[in-house]
Amino acid sequence: MLAEHFPALLVVTPLVAAPLIVVVRSARAGWAMALAACLAAVLMAAQLLARVAASGPVSYAIGSWPPPWGIEYRVDAASALVALLVSAIGTASVVYARRSAAAEIGGERLYLFYALMMLCLAGLLGMVVTGDAFNLFVFLEISSLSTYVLVALGRDRRALTASFQYLILGTVGATFYVMGVGILYLATGTLNLADLAVRLPQAADPRAATVAIAFITAGLGLKLAMFPLHAWLPGAYAHAPSAVSAFLAGTATKVAIYALARIWFSVYGADALLRDIPVAPVLAALSVAAAFIASGAAIVQDDLKRMLAYSSVGQVGYITLGLSLATEPGVAAAIAHVVNHGVTKSALFMLAGAMALRLGGTRFSDLAGVGRTMPVITFAFVIGGLSLIGVPGTAGFVTKWALAGAAIRAGQPVFAAVVLLSSLLAVAYIWRFVECAYFREPPAGAPAPGEAPASMTGTALALTAAVVAMGLHGAPVLGAAGRAAAALMGGAR
């Protein structure tokens, strides 16, 4: 019985957990409640994923008002998969945060940190399961506002400027999105995504639809750090508390990508994108630029977290490249990379955070010789790095395979070459870390060999193990991504 309400409860559980944590005012209880909410979300998302795989998309009318008059929650193979990813990474981040956040934030603000994490999770999950364009904006703002604060909680004062920059750009992006939705609404009279898909082709004038997709793409592009709208990301990821970086890297940009794909393919449809509106080629060009320029910028960073952040911009380029192919294999590869890269990057930020906790920072000068002082963490980091490169046996390979295959099948072998050529840049930046960690002497006064607290190391290693597992046995993720792509491209009509 209760399972019927999972689409709503998936979002409401963390949403309610946040005020409850504020009422309880205890970091310890807050942590426990956050963890419980996350686990509940994981279970619900998993159940939904299984359910939609078995019996097709689920529509849930909130308030029992039928769409398009009320707000519809709609779970299909795509949204369930992303929801599972988000809630799983949320769970891992909360487990990781117990020691990490205690060390970095500390004191009486700690329970608020957990409340904000729950709000962020609720916002992201809401964006994923909603079937309503404006409701998506509301939940986008919930996740964004909580993210700004979470970023600002970083220890360095630069966290504040990074947070402010993110706030400005994020709000500009969200406003662009609302403008785009407004134009769509004025052209069709509806906000429901499925209804939009039906009514948009009948709308009187294609100019409105063209401009609306441009605004929506730019708005969500800011959120997903599409090159060159990524300026906020490196600072935000580099200076946020480790648990926050890990959480955001695996979820925030990924959900924005999902939302973009949803509107592109479920509302507009691949045909319209390729035939009427020149938005796919633009995205492809930007993706190529991201893959090279951002990955290149990653090589010259002298802070590990900043390097990972630039790498994220480059990797997002692969995802948007997959979307820009506008074919089912391309979108499937993009979704698979959303999952695989989400897990990989979360693991890497967690490992970087574990290093920061013991070494006092993540600048390369702090990390010299870390291979000897923290052998397990460092080794796991190298594994994660190999996944960024796309070495077989890691999750990154599986998606690179799918992406290259999709590009060739779409008659765009150049894009396959881009994917592969730019992964050499990943070799360069990962190897910079390897040489620093293994070939440089630890600085004088470096801590004695030893690892980070078990809850941090354990979570990070669990995610790293997942990276390897998804690399060796990649078919489940690719299969789910294939179903997700099918749902995105044909489901809503």
């Binding site: 004062r157 400027t161 134009i183």
Partner: protein, 118 residues
């Protein structure tokens, strides 16, 4: 599709450009937030103006009225206004913290201070 029939959109466009221009061009963080508010407020008009029906009335159902202006944009914009003020409050709180941490709220000075720290 007369030009005059689109004046409401022009208001939106102008306010949006003005807001965006202030956000991007001004270095003072408070001024940026002011620009952001104007930028966001342009959306109000984008939604509300087309909802107006000349000769219509406020969408409160009552005897003697038959033409009502469209209530749905009102609902949406109520939400947008609240989101705007929430963002503003957060933004100002961050500005206060930045001022305490750096002693300035001018973007150039902040960048210079961060560059020195590197």
């Amino acid at each position: 599709m007369s030009v005059a029939g689109h004046f409401g959109y022009w208001a939106t466009v102008f306010l949006m450009m003005a807001g965006l221009f202030i956000v991007i061009s001004r270095g003072n963080l408070v001024k940026k937030l002011v620009g952001l508010s104007i930028f966001q407020s342009s959306v109000y008009l984008l939604y509300i103006v087309p909802g107006k029906l000349v000769g219509g009335t406020v969408p409160i159902v009552g005897e003697g009225f038959t033409v009502y202006s469209n209530p749905l944009p009102h609902v949406l914009i109520l939400t947008a206004i609240v989101v705007g003020v929430a963002t503003l409050a957060l933004g100002l709180a961050i500005v206060v913290r930045i001022r305490e941490a750096y002693g300035t709220i001018e973007e150039d000075d902040l960048l210079a201070a961060d560059a020195r720290a590197d």
